[in-house]
Structures are given as C-alpha cells and as structure tokens.
C-alpha cells in the first residue's frame, strides 16, 4: 500500500537578534524572561521591525532550494489565543510567502529523487510554556518569553515522500544545507520542529504535530503507518485529524481538540510594509552545498560515494575531514566515517570537540603502520574518553608508548609462531589438506599470544611460510 508523506519544517534562523526586535536570540544560559522587550512581550503600543538579516537568510535558503522568489512578500497576522503567544496573533506569511515552487534532491528508496518544496516563509516563534502541578492535570502554567520572536523559517514540502526513511533523509540533507548556508545553529533548543502529513493511498490524511527531532519524525511516521494499516485491515475508518506525537512513548495520540475547526482569520500585518526583494537573489552568493561538496570529495580525494555522502552530510564533519585529509585521504575517510563517528555518538561528543592535532597524529601512526587498526581504535577510545571526561588529551604517540601498543614486526613473533605450529598438529594437517579455515584458526591462536600488537595478515604470512618450510624467508 502506498504511503504519502509531506512535511512542514520549522527551523530557527541563527540571527543575532530576534525577528522583530533587538533582543538577543542566545538565551541558552540565562533565566526566564531575561531576553524580552516591549515588542516580543507584546506590550500595548509596541511595534515590530523586520530584521534584514532574517530576510537575507530566508532568501538564501529559498535560492538553495531552487524556489522562485515572489515579487512582493508580505507579513500577515495569524490570530489565535494562547498564553505563550503574547500579542494574540503570530506574525507570519500567508498568501504572499518569500519563495515558492522549489525542490530538494534526496537519496530516495530506489534512486535519487526530487522532493518539491511548496513554499518557504518567515515567521516568529511563540514563547515557551511549562505545565505546573504535575500529572495529567496541571494546576497552572508558567511562561517564558525568551523564545518569543525568534525567527523561524517554515519550509513546506509537497506530499512527495514515500517512506519514513525518505522523510528522515530529507531532513538530514535539509539540515546539512541549512548548516552549509550558515543560517542555522543545530545546537539550540527547539532549533528544528516538524509537522507531518501522512496518508495511505486512497485514505484520509492525518497531521502529526509536535515532532522535535529527526529520529522522532521517523518514529512517529512508522508508528502512524502501522496504526493506519491496521485500521484498514480491520475495515475501520481513518479519521482526518490532527494527532500529537508523544516523543517519550513513541506514539501518536488524537488531540481531540477543536483545532480542526480553528479559523485563524489571516489578514495583512498593518504595522509592516511589504518586502520587494526578488532582485536581491542573484546577488546572494551561495556557498558550496552538500551535493556539490560530495562530488568534489569523490574527485579530489578519491573516496567512495558512501564515504563522501557521510562526510558531507554534516558541515562540521566535512570541515573536519578536509582539515585532516592530507595525511591520507582514503585512510582518513575510512577512519572518520567508519570508526570516529560511532565512537563520538557513543560518548555523545560533538564533532567540534574532536582534538584535531591528536587525531592527525593518530592517522599518521596508522599510515606509517606503527600501530595496527585495533591499536588505533584503542588509542582513539582513550583520546575520546579523555575528551568526554574533560581531562587533558594525550598525544597518541604517548599513549602507544605508555600502553606498549606499538606494532611489533611480525618476525619478532617467530618463536611464538613456532610454538603455535608445534601445539596444533591437527590444524596443520587440515591446512595441508587445503582447509582455509585452519589457517585462520592458527592466526587467531597467534593473535592471542601477541596480544593484538601485530597485523593479522602479516602473521598469516609468517605461519604460511613456516608451514611451507621456508623459515629463512621470513
């Protein structure tokens, strides 16, 4: 059964000040209501003023997503009443958005595909509500208006996605694009929020609100597909409704509110003038975007498509790679994509916290063959544990020396190899009969004795030579 998914993505733009006032957008380390002024508090008589940078950022994104920029864009009021919405309306764009009819390329389930972008527009974020009194029935709410007025970019896609995995991939590439454009700071709380529309082909559409992470999107959609398919199997109807995603429990629940019949009574914001910025677009330079960088990585560094895709999928990762690639582009790509990422994720360490010069030295040791792959992993883990523990980070050469991880040339293990051969006559017999597995067994035995300090391939060669009676050659 076909699945049809469209996304509405809200992302914070990383301007220094808010969309309509001069309050700072960086309130991460400050108490509630400390970045608030008459404008973002909605005090009577205050008036909004458009932040030029926010318009520029929005145009950058519109251009990167191949949108047509409208000749005249206009802010409008979306009227609804909620305690975190200080003016009783949200200033957003309605029938005159900044950009329309764009697209973004993603790696689809089958092949590369274009997901159409319906529109891109600017709007302000509301404040933040805390429910007090616990349990299912809070007694009252507390409001913090620090977030009120943070610039948001809303990006709406056409229902062109066919699976939760495609949805996640779209978010990944979109996030990377926003980072490359330097209009987005993924570290900020609530920096990316998603509403999703999902339907099974031929059935009613359900809207899922309140998804605040990438993994959440995939989870919510997967849950919803299972739910809707089982309703269809049991011949029950799928209601056209709005559902909320409960991140902690991984399920969606019917919001059962009057939101369905919400009438926002949009009209043009009379306190602001229209934007006529289409002519800017050609003068806005776009940086190299993820797909272009991916292609360049493959050509310039000779790395695989998969590695190039992984490395360019995150701006900081791609930058890190280019800083250390000179040691050996292919070796470096393999180490970052296949080992470093997982170790960082395991320890919840950001890419920005990777100790560059230590990492370069580690790659150099690996390239020279001074340590084995396994030894390299050990060193990396020690390094990252030190980062995670906020301890001084040692240099790999010091760790290698301290723990005697240095790779010993295989011939130093000659006597150990002889011991192994002497102790396993049956395996030798099997090997001579042509059983490949026997050699692997012998290498394993020898690895144990060398405590992993030697290269298994080299050990295999020594054993083969010994068994063949060519001791002198090794």
């Amino acid at each position: 059964m076909g699945v049809i998914i469209g996304l509405e993505i809200h992302t914070q733009l990383s301007t220094a000040s808010k969309l309509f006032c001069g309050c700072s957008t960086d309130y991460r380390n400050d108490g509630p209501n400390t970045h608030v002024c008459p404008v973002c508090m909605g005090l009577p008589g205050s008036l909004p003023r458009i932040n030029r940078k926010a318009v520029e950022y929005a145009l950058k994104v519109a251009k990167a997503l191949h949108c047509e920029v409208c000749e005249e864009a206009e802010f409008a009021r979306k009227n609804y009443f909620y305690p975190d919405l200080p003016k009783g309306f949200q200033i957003t764009m309605y029938d005159r958005p900044l950009g329309v009819n764009g697209y973004i390329e993603i790696e689809g389930d089958d092949e590369e595909k274009q997901i159409r972008i319906t529109r891109v527009h600017l709007e302000e974020d509301p404040g933040r509500l805390v429910h007090m009194g616990g349990g299912d029935r809070p007694r009252y709410s507390l409001v913090d208006y620090n977030r009120s007025g943070i610039p948001l970019l809303e990006i709406v896609t056409e229902p062109d996605l066919r699976s939760p995995q495609e949805a996640r991939r779209l978010l990944n590439i979109l996030r990377a694009t926003l980072e490359y454009l330097r209009v987005f700071d993924g570290d900020r709380e609530g920096s990316l929020r998603v509403d999703a529309n999902i339907s099974m082909e031929g059935y009613s559409r359900v809207e899922i609100k309140n998804i605040s992470s990438y993994k959440g999107v995939e989870k919510a959609l997967t849950f919803e597909i299972t739910r809707q398919k089982s309703l269809i199997r049991r011949n029950q109807t799928i209601d056209r409704e709005t559902r909320h995603f409960m991140e902690a429990r991984g399920i969606t629940t019917s919001s059962r509110s009057k939101e369905m019949e919400q009438d926002y009574r949009y009209f043009p914001e009379p306190d602001l003038r229209p934007l006529r910025v289409r002519d800017w677009v050609e003068y806005i330079p776009l940086p190299e975007l993820p797909s272009a960088r991916k292609d360049r990585f493959m050509i310039q560094y000779g790395i695989s498509l998969n590695h190039a895709r992984t490395l360019t999928g995150d701006l900081r990762l791609a930058d890190l790679y280019e800083k250390v690639a000179r040691v050996d582009p292919v070796l470096t790509a393999t180490w970052i994509a296949d080992t470093l990422l997982g170790e960082l994720y395991y320890r919840d360490i950001g890419i920005g916290d990777v100790p560059i010069s230590q990492f370069i030295e580690l790659l150099e040791l690996l390239k020279k063959g001074s340590i084995t792959g396994k030894g390299g992993v050990d060193v990396l883990r020690i390094l990252l544990d030190e980062v995670a523990g906020k301890k001084p980070v040692e240099y790999p050469s010091a760790i290698v020396e301290r723990l005697n991880l240095g790779k010993t040339a295989g011939n130093e293990f000659l006597h150990l190899a002889k011991e192994v051969i002497a102790n396993n006559p049956t395996a030798i017999e099997d090997y001579r009969k042509g059983k490949k597995g026997a050699l692997n067994f012998l290498v394993g035995q020898l690895m144990k004795k060398t405590k992993g300090r030697a290269d298994p391939r080299e050990l295999g060669a020594i054993l083969e030579a010994l068994i063949a009676g060519k001791e002198t050659e090794v």
């Binding site: 608030v36 007090m132 208006y145 934007l275």
Partner: protein, 89 residues
C-alpha cells in the same frame, strides 16, 4: 439575517464571554450594523495601488532587553522569573 445562535458562535470564535441576557440586544444590533455594511456590495472594482514604501527594516543588531524585573512587574502572577498563566491542558 444573524440569529442568536450565530451571535453565540461569533462570540465563541472571538473567544469573548457573552451573557444570555445580552444575546437579544447583540443580535438586534449586529443585524442593523451588518445590514448597513451591505453597502460594500456596491463598491466598484478598483485597481489596488501599490504601496510605495517597502523594505523597511532594521539591521541585525542586539538592543539590550528590559530587565526580568521590569518585564514581569506588570504581570498579575510570577514565579521564579516566569509569568503565571492558567493551565492549558
């Protein structure tokens, strides 16, 4: 013709409380006023003039916020720098 039910619905949409004894009065007045507004049906089409002013904005510069004390001083209820509001759930 606006009915009492319509007025109740409008009050609900506007989120404004209305007492039942006010309903007749409001219904009567709304009908009078909206009948008068029907004059708008006779408005001839007119090309909308482009507002000459556009692109009025400010640079992305931080202006110091008000202090938490100043910003919460007018609030009927506060708690640890937060502003109190009725429950929404």
């Amino acid at each position: 013709m606006i009915t009492r039910l319509d007025v109740q619905h409008i009050a609900e949409l506007a989120d404004i409380g209305i007492a039942s004894e006010e309903l007749d009065e409001f219904t009567h007045q709304f009908n009078e006023i909206l009948d008068y507004f029907d004059l708008l049906d006779q408005v001839p089409e007119q090309e909308c003039q482009r507002i000459p002013e556009c692109n009025i904005w400010r640079e992305d510069e931080i202006i110091p916020a008000l202090s938490q004390e100043e910003i919460t001083r007018n609030a009927p209820g506060t708690e640890g720098g937060f502003i109190r509001a009725p429950r929404v759930m």
